[in-house]
Amino acid sequence: MLLISMRHGVQIVARCCPTSSAAGVECGMTVAHARALLEGHDCLIQPHDPARDDQALHRLAVWALRYSPLVAPDPPDGLQIDITGCQRLFRGEKRLARAVARDIERLDFAARVAIASTFACAWAVAQCSDCQVTLIPDGFERDAIAELPIAALRIEPDIIEALQEVEVVRVGQILDLPRSELAARFPSQLLLRLDQVLGQAIETIDPIRPKDPPQVEQVFDGPVVQIEAIALCVQQLLESLAGVGGQLLRLERGVRRLDIELLRVDAEPVRLTLSLSHPSRNAKHLWSLLRPRLEQVNIGFGIERIRLIASRTAPLRHDQTEHWSNDAHLQHEAHRITGELIDTIANRLGRDRVLRVQPFESHLPERAFARRSAMDSPALPGGNLESGCHGSADRQTRAESPMTPHWSGLSPPETRPVAPLTSSFFPMRGEYDRPALLLEHAAPIRVELIDNRPARLTWNRFDYQVVDSLGPERIAGMWWEDRQRSVQSTRDYYRLQDQTGHWLWTYRERTSGQWFIHGVWA
């Protein structure tokens, strides 16, 4: 694969894959030359977009905040991490370096990691060494870089050419030359880089900084005890945060989590958190969720300050006012209202009482679907606010709050492997006859057999005459699950009709011979 760019009207190879490199392709080569070298290979050529490279590197830098709070992207393909003091958390520099290399490999990136006492030395070794992980002890910088090519010093190409003219190709050769002569013959950058490598000059990095989340604050002149005044103030703050002209509108983002901090006199501050299933900028909706919580707050001797922090946000486009509502707008509205319905129910009953169902990779009927809180689940199909009719293409790729540690663009978002609805592995895809009602827990029943067919069953002290039966349908147990015996055994499912006409879904465990009722065609 080749990424190409135009230079003086000529197509130049900007980046190439390892296979191309092995064939002799180098960056800066013309595409025609590269094609000639790659003859016989299937070659994919795409235009090079440096801005996307920078964005990806920035996301990787955010990801690397897990190792240290000071991380700087080093374009085009490097990261500089100040690990001073952080190595203790990883039980030593060696383990830290290995952890970084291993974790980046999991993201499908090839990486070389070097730890040194100066950034310049670590950069030189990481760029020019062949080892995946290199540790350079204090005082050994000169030895570490002596054998490296002079390009490892991050100097301008014309200085490299000038050095090559006098047959200086390794850093060690420069270090052996008298310093005064170097200063007289070459630009000052060469000496600066040498000093930076050896720790005799300061080198600073420009680390990424998390942006402050949008927040609004109101400080009172004195303690306020009237709940009406506090409620009015919170309403005004919500308007200034999420209403017309609010901070979120300017950022084109909606709230996913709102933290409310009430600073009380002579008491601990009260902190409330509001979670939303969909990003929202509707101040009225936020107030309807907040009001019942606010009414229950113990004000104490009064409140001095109220602060609202939108600690988690997600992209949300402006609402375009249209005279004639089109389909996309109506659909968008419907999804917004559904999100508000879920928020309202979850806020009053609890987030675990509003659920959505997602298929799960299991043959066992009770495990074939996982119930998840609707607050965690994605929005209704086709109506995801981030990717819906009001989302532009680049916004779809942007993750929620990219500058906060909650950002998870490069890590697996789900802890439990939930198969997508379009998964090819989906045993319950309507191919089998399944009852309309499945009992929460299979209930044990007593079954009388005549000629090895169920003839009578007793469930909850009620007797049922079996007038018809279908089966068995065998479903193998999960023998690898050693903790739950109930799912280990293979089951033989029978469909039984009782004397009233109900069709019951029953099964017999093959190991124990115990019968259970599992569902009803109701």
Partner: protein, 276 residues
């Protein structure tokens, strides 16, 4: 012999057609005149079963609450196959093009998710479904009310047991405000409780000679339409046999001409409750 049988079959068919014409109101100046509540087709969701649709002037009304009673001799099973079928019909109707959410309220009324998936692999019903588990009766009533008022919801299927007349009126007003389809599942021993629902149905399982489950569905009330006939033989015309086809997963009217057992004895069910 064959000729006589054919004559008999033709005679039965004529009687049935006449009965359907009378029931749908066409014999009395058209359905619109008899059904002031449903002035145009957008106000109803077709059940997909022509005989039931003709008895209801086109289908179950939108912006109304419908109660579905099912037998609860030993244990109550809500008539979920039928409710799923109606909800599916609502999702496919023109009135709910942009309103797709289906809310299932009450743990007893949660269907098995595999049954929400069509044989053709259509998962839309599963994706649009939201399950709510209210902890008590007051919360259940509040959630049903809230969901019925929501303009993004197509159908609300809820456990309607232990709801009194005031709650019933509240839900009816909520459904009218939100123009939502409200389907309440109730146990049959609550048949004698008062309610303001537009239609009432009684669903009972029946013994089948085939492997497909069958139910008798009887219309007990239709507000805003022609009153139900008092004669037992005409009542029988408002009783249908529906069959769940295991092969296709569809609900359809049974191919048999009439219900063999006739309409179930409502009075008997109520007396059973009293004796219990």
């Amino acid at each position: 012999m064959r000729c006589e049988l054919q004559q008999l079959a033709t005679a039965i068919e004529d009687i049935q057609q006449r009965s359907a014409t009378v029931e749908s109101g066409r014999g009395f100046g058209g359905s619109a005149g008899l059904c002031p509540a449903y002035s145009h087709r957008g106000d109803v969701v077709s059940t997909g079963i022509p005989a039931i649709d003709s008895a209801l002037c086109g289908g179950v009304g939108i912006g109304r609450v419908h109660e579905w009673f099912s037998n609860a001799d030993g244990r109550w099973f809500p008539p979920l196959s039928l409710l799923m079928h109606v909800a599916q019909q609502a999702l496919g109707s023109e009135s709910f093009i942009h309103r797709k959410a289906v809310i299932w309220i009450g743990r007893r009324c949660w269907p098995y998710s595999a049954a929400l998936i069509h044989r053709a692999g259509d998962c839309s019903m599963l994706e649009y479904s939201i399950l709510v588990d209210p902890p008590d009766d007051a919360s259940r009533l509040w959630v049903i009310d809230l969901a019925l008022r929501c303009r993004a919801v197509a159908a609300v299927i809820a456990d309607g047991s232990r709801l009194d007349i005031a709650a019933s009126r509240r839900l009816q007003l909520a459904a009218e405000a939100g123009r939502t389809l409200g389907l309440l599942a109730r146990p049959s021993f609550e048949l004698d409780t008062l309610s303001t629902s537009t239609t009432r149905w009684l669903i009972q399982p029946m013994l089948t000679p085939t492997v497909n489950p069958r139910w008798t569905v009887q219309l007990l009330r239709r507000k805003g339409m022609r009153p139900l006939p008092a004669q037992p033989d005409l009542q029988r015309s408002l009783c249908w046999t529906l069959e769940y086809d295991r092969a296709t997963g569809a609900l359809r009217e049974s191919s048999e001409l009439v219900s063999r057992s006739g309409p179930p004895e409502v009075a008997a069910i109520q007396s059973k409750r009293i004796s219990a």
